[in-house]
Symmetry: C2
Subunit: 196 residues, 2 copies
């Protein structure tokens, strides 16, 4: 089996804007060939256009937000493809809005692939215990629903956006990507709370 | 042996402004008794005054700094004892200065106790290899010196302060503590660089 290295996964993530585990799985299937991995993802419908996969989101902007009480602060790296977009006011405002959202909503990770495995397993164990008396044929459906709810509570991209509860933060990022005509994503964030 | 929990260590850190490992060791020696642990540290000369140990640094301020190019940013939690000091302009300016320093100097941790063990062991192995042909009786002295240099490069409190190279960041924090008359320390920081 071909060895899949972290830089290869990183590169594919930058090319596709997809989550780490998806990229890793595609690279395993493509035996480490980056172009083939892109094809694998296209065939699966995970990425829609060829163009998008050809372009790297290697540029970006760091934004921060400190709540007026000085007790909560957030820093965030938002990626895009060109420095032109990185310096765009609208792009930077979007990044700052997401910082403010993070200060408020306190997500545990950017997406479900960023959550520690133990955290997910612990949740699953709790849900399994909760549904153990239900009829067998609906258990999986209930578990799936509970896990989905969990992700919506703790994953940044799945959370309802603080400024518009009809959208998720993921929707806001996708809108921004369309507006800018570039591949855009939140690469990482940190949220500090005094004594937290 | 008494179980030493993370909250106990945290509490003692807040009381003494000392590093985690020092506090843990003192708690082990004091068999988990917080007051005894303070005594242990006093006897060792690790903390100087009784007063200082009686006061918690449970308040503080979050500050951030983003470099004008938008490519490097820092967030920092600076602790103090009262909200009065947390809201003090001078205290907040000091925290912002340290943010700026971190953006520039890219430290790996607040102090040596925050460095990953593997990182220190790796450095030690390199130095040992470098000095292996030196006379036995000076090897330890050279190793000590090299390790000290290493800490001065990678530990925030040991680094020369960006705005005044005659002081370390640790000196700046101590000065601020004297000025405010409170126990003050950097609890944690995060430094983001686009693509970093």
């Amino acid at each position: 089996m071909a060895k899949i290295t972290a830089p290869m996964v990183k590169k594919l993530r930058e090319m596709t804007n997809l989550a780490m585990m998806e990229c890793k799985a595609a690279l395993v299937e493509a035996e480490g060939d980056l172009d083939k991995a892109v094809e694998v993802l296209r065939k699966k419908g995970a990425i829609k256009s060829a163009k998008r996969a050809d372009r790297e989101a290697a540029e970006g902007s760091i934004q921060s937000y400190v709540h007026s009480n000085g007790k909560i602060g957030v820093i965030l790296e938002m990626r895009c493809e060109t420095d032109f977009v990185a310096k765009n006011n609208d792009f930077q405002r979007c990044a700052r809005d997401i910082c403010m959202h993070i200060a408020w909503a306190d997500p545990a990770a950017v997406d479900r692939h960023g959550l520690p495995n133990e955290m997910i397993e612990k949740e699953k164990a709790i849900y399994k215990d909760q549904v153990k008396d239900k009829p067998e044929h609906i258990i999986n459906k209930i578990l799936e629903g509970k896990l989905k709810d969990f992700f919506e509570r703790v994953c940044l991209v799945d959370q309802k956006f603080v400024k518009d509860q009809n959208k998720t933060v993921g929707d806001v990022i996708t809108e921004q990507a369309h507006k800018m005509g570039e591949n855009i994503y939140v690469n990482r964030f940190a949220r500090f709370e005094v004594g937290g």
